[in-house]
Amino acid sequence: MAKGYNDPAMETRFQDRYYHSADNPEFTKEVERISRTIAHMCFQCGTCTGSCPSAPRSSYRIRKFVRRAVMGLEREALTDPDLWLCTTCYSCTDRCPRGIAPTDIIMAMRNLAFKWDIIPRNFLKTVQLIYTTGHGVPNNDVNRAARVKLGLEAEPETTHKYPEYIPGIQKIIDHYKMKENADRILAEGEH
């Protein structure tokens, strides 16, 4: 006989016993889809946190985020500001005995947080810079002068020298409405 109460009323009452009403089992699947890693294989050994350069200087615990991924604790994960303290050094990923990429779990959660409009401003400003110039760190006058002294051209052989390539980049970014959302979130934060 299958495990159960053998009582339809009780079965209905407890069918969600593994998930708190605020949890979202779809969250685990979404994180695994975006990160392309097997989060559910985690057995919580903590090798990741032990390898993490951010852990000793903050309350950021990568192991906790992986647990949140597996438990479907979407709100708890996406609203925690520690989500943005991962330097993406991938030490946890290289050392994970289960072959999981915890770093990519963080990256997936950050992508999902962006969909909730949760994202630090510096990330959005990078989006704006890349959209307008093609570069996350664009050229400036001091650097242009230095380049010329070196015998290089003032503008590098990138979108800086060939701005005709920028519309193509903007098309890619617009396809995903990334700039539009970045502008909106930044504007909403200003007042």
């Binding site: 350069p53 951010s54 200087r57 903050s58 943005w84 303290l85 991962c86 330097t87 993406t88 050094c89 991938y90 030490s91 990923t93 290289d94 990429a101 770093t103 990256m107 950050r110 992508n111 962006f114 994202i119 630090p120 510096n122 990330f123 959005l124 400003k125 990078t126 989006v127 890349i130 093609g134 570069h135 996350g136 760190v137 664009p138 050229n139 400036n140 001091v142 650097n143 230095a146 380049r147 002294k149 070196l150 015998g151 290089l152 590098p156 052989e157 990138t158 979108t159 800086h160 060939y162 005709e164 390539y165 193509g168 980049i169 098309k171 890619i172 970014i173 396809h175 995903y176 990334m178």
Partner: protein, 296 residues
């Protein structure tokens, strides 16, 4: 002559142009010609940009790769962040039909298609590869040996990690860049927690500068403890973090460091006889003079 499309990225051409100039000149002496990759953009930044939407990260990196496919040249580059974006996206798109189809759907809008016809290399890995260059050739190109200097190597993260997605075999204690440094006549030194991150990546430098600098400060403690005269790296973003970072550490924590930070190509340039002016070392936040005095 081995020819490669030279992917510049952002920080090398726009903050440390000496790295770009040095890469072109030093490589030419080693039989490697770096060709301009016209119209390339930011790789885009794997952490600061990929964190927002990985779909756009894949598509934009693919656009840069396609520019080189159109030249029919493999890509080489001098930044670990660029390496993660360009190398990893290239490999992932070659291996995964679902990812490649998604990216090509978007690239079709700008009349481009990712074909998977080229490979991506970090310039340092080409220098180490005996089929392309090799340590002996580096040693033979030196006209002003960096004798008497102790140099700490910072590998950076995205060159070697995640190791499963790299050609390299060791991300815990690699020694091959030390071999490249020793070939210049300098003495490479080992220090505690060598493989720790510089602290800049993942958008953390922009999000929480103090947190990011605290990681850098720990590295600086470990490097100076063994008496290093300079740090070398193969990533302009790590360079920025160590170089400008020392000034920021002084402002934020009141701790004073004065450790010169040089990209491997700048070191190689010096060893091949390039002048500090030809390398724009004056753009560095930390004065390189103490190091230069040692090799005079």
């Amino acid at each position: 002559m081995h020819e490669y499309a030279f992917f510049l990225g952002c920080i090398a051409p726009n903050r440390y142009p000496g790295c770009e100039a040095a890469a072109i000149k030093t490589s030419r002496k080693l039989g490697i010609e770096l060709l301009p990759l016209k119209g390339a953009s930011c790789c885009p930044a794997p952490g600061a940009f990929g964190a927002v939407d990985l779909n756009v990260w894949y598509a934009m990196a693919a656009r840069n790769i396609v520019l080189a496919e159109q030249m029919n040249k493999d890509i080489t580059l001098i930044c670990n962040g660029c390496y993660k974006s360009i190398y990893e996206v290239n490999e992932r798109l070659k291996e995964n039909d679902d990812l490649r189809d998604g990216v090509n759907e978007v690239l079709a809008e700008i009349d481009m298609e990712f074909k998977g016809s080229i490979d991506v290399y970090h310039l340092a890995e080409l220098y180490y590869d005996p089929k392309i260059c090799g340590v002996d050739k580096i040693r033979d190109s030196v006209t002003r040996p960096l004798t008497g200097t102790k140099i700490a190597v910072h590998y950076g993260c995205h060159l070697l990690k995640p190791i499963k997605e790299r050609r390299f075999t060791d991300s815990e204690n690699p020694m091959w860049i030390e071999e490249l440094v020793d070939a210049l006549g300098a003495e490479s030194v080992q220090y505690r927690n060598k493989m720790q991150c510089c602290g800049a990546g993942g958008g953390v430098r922009g999000f929480d500068l103090a947190h990011s600098l605290d990681i850098t400060n720990e590295k600086l403690i470990n490097v100076t403890e063994v008496g290093a005269d300079a740090i070398t790296e193969v990533c302009p973003f790590c360079q920025l973090q160590y170089d400008r970072g020392q000034i920021e550490i002084k402002e934020k924590f009141g701790i004073e460091w004065a450790l010169p930070v040089l990209h491997y190509n700048e070191l190689l340039g010096l060893a091949q006889g390039m002048t500090p002016q030809e390398l724009a070392l004056d753009l560095h936040g930390i004065d390189c003079k103490p190091f230069l005095d040692k090799i005079r």
